[in-house]
Structures are given as C-alpha cells and as structure tokens.
C-alpha cells in the first residue's frame, strides 16, 4: 500500500509531464500499470470534454446550415458532414497531421477563420491542438446529423403557436426549436459522446507523436504490453477505466436529460437508451 502511494506520487500526473521522467522498465508492478494508465486517462478526458464542448456549438450551426434556405450553405455544410462521416477518423488523423506538418513548409497557409496556420503555428502538429481540432470537426459532423434529425421532428404546432404569439424568427429558434431539438436529440447525443470518448484512444496511434512519452491510457497500456509481453493485465485495465468513464458520461447525460425534459409530461419524455452505435 505504502509502495503504491509512492508510485502515485511518481506517475499519477506523468501523462502531463509532472513527476518521474523515466517510465518503469523492469519489474513492472500492477500498481504502476494502474497508476500510469490512469494518468493517461487525463488526455482522453481532455480530448473528449473539449471537443464535445466546442463541437456542440459547431454542430448546431452545421445542422442549421443543412436546413438553410440558401443552397450554398446547404452544400457547404452537407459536404463537411459527408467528408467527416464518410471517412475513417484514423485516416483523418493521418491526413491532418501531414497537412499541419507539410503545408506550412511549402508556403501554403490554411485560413481556419480564427487561426491561420503557417510556419509559426507549429503547435498544430502537436497532439493537444491538432488532434483536438480533428476530433472537434469529427464530433461536430456526427452530432449535426443527430441535431438536424431532431430539428426536423420538432412538433409543428409549437412553431405555429410561437409564430401566432408574435415571436421573431430568432426568438422562435431560441425559445422553441433549440430546447425541443436538444430534448429530442439528447439520448442519441449521449451515445455520440460515449463513442467520441472511445475514439480519443486513436490519437496517439495515428501520426501524432506522443511528446516525451506523454500519452493517453491506451498508449501506456500498449507500452506495458510491449514491455511485459503480457496483454492480459494492461488492456483489461484500460477496459475497466473506460467502462467507468462510460458510466460517468451516462450519469451526466441522464441528469442533463432530466433537466431538458422538465416541462414535458412524464409519459411523453424521451427516454435515454442505447441506440445504434457509431464509429468514426
């Protein structure tokens, strides 16, 4: 027990560069595996929370764009969704990494609106920014599919009632369509969140290098599997951590879902349940 306390001090925050520099090499204990893989989970949570947090708003914009009356907006947003839903996330990571590394060198700059990538923005080749950007686009595309479906199933009567009471177009969206959309989309969106967290494990296996061996949970698990030639300990540990993480996500989304459904009679609420899975 005492020994394990030392290990937690040494490796508890190893994934973000705090603590012992060298990873355990010989005589690897169960405690070391648990602690180091757990510390890698910081990155999974980081990628998951931030990409969902930002991707949510982009997804709402995208789904509005897909239902827009302007053909250009429709085309651009459906094209974006097709690009990110139709290709494997794994390839997207590789492609984006090469683009972030290569394009600035050749003098081509990518204008992302908020940031312009050129030689000075080398941090986009680092996982914390580059992979986050890919995950952000990816989850936005998948979520916008869910949201635009939900927007189309907002009850017509409610919109008519809002129009009849003299609301402006923006007010109708803000007060009627948006809350209804969230409520209807929430169970499917929970599923999307779970699978996004799962796919954060791909980051360090796809082009983006783990700087100073600071990687995610699966990165450390495969490190241990390589060092000990025993996959039966590290991978079940990752699996266990992810099952816990999944339970936390389900808990958070169920609570939020209850809040979103607060004005709806009990029997008409949208129940959270597992839907078809999605893979990037």
């Amino acid at each position: 027990m005492n020994v394990c306390f030392d290990t937690i001090q040494a490796y508890g925050l190893r994934a973000i560069g705090i603590g012992e520099r060298l990873l355990p090499k010989a005589d690897i204990t169960l405690c070391e595996q648990m602690v180091l893989i757990g510390s890698g989970l910081i990155w999974n949570v980081y990628f998951g929370v931030l990409s969902i947090g930002f991707g949510f708003w982009f997804a709402v914009c995208l789904s509005l764009g897909r239902l827009s009356q302007f053909a250009v907006l429709r085309l651009v947003s459906s094209g974006f969704v097709f690009l990110f839903r139709g290709s494997p996330l794994f390839i997207q990571f590789f492609f984006a990494y090469e683009a972030f590394v290569l394009l600035p060198k050749t003098g081509i700059t990518i204008d992302l609106g908020l940031v312009v990538i050129d030689a000075s923005t080398g941090w986009f080749t680092k996982a914390w920014a580059g992979a986050l950007f890919v995950l952000f686009c990816n989850t936005a595309a998948y979520s916008s599919e869910i949201f635009s479906g939900a927007l189309q199933s907002v009850p017509n009567g409610q919109i008519e009632a809002a129009r009849a009471s003299g609301m402006t177009r923006f007010q109708i969206f803000r007060r009627v369509m948006f809350p209804n959309m969230l409520r209807l989309a929430w169970p499917a969106y929970m599923n999307e969140a779970i699978f996004l967290f799962h796919s954060t494990t791909l980051v360090f296996f796809s082009g983006f290098p783990a700087w100073r061996q600071e990687g995610d949970a699966l990165y450390y698990a495969s490190y241990f599997a390589e060092k000990t030639f025993n996959p039966f300990v590290p991978y079940p540990i990752v699996a266990g951590y992810f099952i816990l993480l999944t339970l936390v996500i389900i808990g958070v989304f169920t609570l939020t879902g209850g809040y979103l459904n607060r004005s709806v009679p009990q029997e008409r609420r949208v129940k959270p349940r597992f839907r078809l899975l999605i893979w990037r």
Binding site: A26, I28, F82, L83, R85, G86, S87, P88, L89, F90, I91, Q92, F94, F95, E98, A99, V101, L102, L103, H198, S199, T201, L202, F205, L218, A221, S222, A225, K227, T228, F229, N230, P231, F232, Y235, V238, A239, F242, I243, T246, F274, L276, L277, I278, W279, R280
Partner: protein, 295 residues
C-alpha cells in the same frame, strides 16, 4: 515494368509518373486495396454468423446460453474497440503458441514465462520461423479476421437481438395459434421478418466495418496505411524516384477511396431496403408511403 522505365533518372513529366506509379512497391500498394476489400468480404459473413448465434443465445430460456450471449454483446459496448483490436490478436497468438507448447515441448526448462518474456521453443512458434513469408502474412491476416469477427460479431449481435424484439408479437401469436412449434415459429416467422428491422443497424455496421479497416495497420499488416506512409515519405536521390514528402497526397487518396466506398454502400443500402420492405408489415412495405416518409 515498361522498357522505358529502365533508367528513371532520364524520365520527366508524364513518363516519370507512369513509371513511378508502376514500380513493384506501388503495385503492392494497389494490391493492399484488394486486401482491405478481402478483409471486408470475409469479416462481414463471419461477424454476421457470430452475431446471429449470440443474438439467438441471448434469447434462450436457459441461463447457460443467455448469460454468455448477453455478456458478449454487452462487453463490446463499454470498451473502446481499438482496445480489442490491440488485445485479441496478441492474446490469440499467445494462446495458440501456449497450446502448441503444451503439445510439442512441455518440458521446456524455464517454462514459457521467463521474467518479462513470453517464449516458447522454436518448434512451437507460430508460424515457424522457417516458414515462407507468405505464411506469416496469412497468419497475420487470419488473426485480423478473427479479431474483427469477434468485435463486429458483438455489434451485430446487438443489432440482431434488438430486431428480434421488433417483430410484432401478434405475428408470433398467430403462428402459435396455428399450432406451429417453437422452432417452426423461429424459422418461418421470426427470422424472415427480422431482417427488415435489422437492416438499418446492419448497414450502419457495414459502414463502421469499412471505416475500421485502417486499423489493420495497428495489427502490423502491410495494408494501405502502411504503404501510404512508406511510399509517401520523402525519398532522397539515392532512390530511383526521388521526391519530397508526399504523404499528404497519399493519405488524401485514401480519404477519397473511403469516401467513395461509403457513398456506394449508402446507395446500395437504399436499394436493398426498398427490396426487402416489399410485402412487410411496416409503413414502407405497405406501398402507400415512400421510404423516406415511412421510416
């Protein structure tokens, strides 16, 4: 390949490219697209069969069958799939070698676990180190098929178990009232009607399977990702065809390949759905409402 390609340094423009794209390594790259297609073609029926067995087992009245079925289906939901893809091949590989060790050289001096190493005598290695390289590739591909089959079998089991539930109960009751036996009802009523409910989920799975194929790279096979990295990386002038870092274009090509594959599957799915819905007790099958409005 062509006689003009004998001395690449003399070539330029289109000639250079046509020679560059037909080097043996590029032909292997194009061949690896076939490998991906082969994997999809082999895994899809395997996973469907495993999933069907798991779904049927999970509905069984006996807990001896239903518990393993449910557990197997549920496990794939909570754990990232890539964990399975890393875990299952190593575990299977070690399992096979351990079994061979028990048969071939059980009296190995230090046992299989030597410190932090897993070692079996060289006669028990799989495939044998003397085997031709093709056997190593086939063995690796076989492991990939098994791990893809196991993971996607669980997903398919999940979909099929749901669609068994979706068959209207009245259909089963009608069968029972005609005096059909359990297995009769299962074969004549449940299974034929289940597919139309399963198809949206299965088509989703198909897309997932297509998009999971780059993970072959993680299993150490020479698949399209391997070749794209290999061929795209910058080649200095000691190579026959020197070029700067072209990985971006190679990965761009892979991106387009996958987009095409998923787009074609989408069209095919709509056709099959329309065909299967004919005559079914669903809105789409009644012929009054089109597919889009009905489902």
């Amino acid at each position: 390949m062509f006689s003009v390609c004998a001395d690449p340094s003399l070539l330029s423009g289109l000639d250079w490219f046509s020679c560059y794209l037909t080097t043996p390594k590029h032909l292997a790259f194009f061949g690896s697209f076939g490998l991906v297609m082969l994997l999809i073609a082999v895994v899809a029926p395997v996973a469907l069969a495993i999933g069907f067995a798991a779904a049927v087992a999970s509905r069984s009245a006996s807990p001896l069958l239903s518990l393993p079925g449910r557990g197997y289906i549920a496990l794939a939901r909570g754990v990232p799939d890539i964990v399975f893809f890393l875990f299952v091949p190593i575990a299977l590989d070690q399992g096979f070698e351990y079994l061979r060790y028990l048969v071939i050289c059980p009296d190995q001096p230090d046992g299989v676990w030597q410190g932090n190493n897993f070692l079996v005598c060289s006669a028990a290695k799989l495939p044998l180190s003397t085997a031709a390289p093709i056997w190593h590739s086939i063995y690796g591909f076989g492991l990939a098929v098994i791990s893809f089959g196991l993971v996607f079998g669980a997903f398919a089991g999940n979909v099929l178990a749901g669609s068994f539930e979706a068959v209207p109960i009245a259909q089963i009751q009608t069968g029972a009232s005609f005096g059909m036996t359990q297995s009769h009802i299962f074969r004549r009523i449940l299974v034929p009607q289940m597919w139309v409910f399963a198809l949206p989920g299965l088509s989703n799975l198909w897309q997932i399977l297509i998009k999971a194929t780059p993970l072959l790279f993680l299993l150490g096979l020479q698949d399209i990702v391997y070749w794209a990295r290999e061929l795209g990386s910058s080649k200095t002038s000691i190579y026959a065809y020197p070029h700067p870092d072209w990985r971006l274009y190679y990965f761009g090509f892979l991106l387009i390949f996958y987009l095409g594959l998923t787009a074609i599957s989408e069209v095919a799915y709509k056709r099959i759905m329309a065909r299967l819905s004919r005559g079914q007790a669903t809105l789409a099958g009644s012929g009054k409402i089109g597919l889009r409005g009905g489902v």
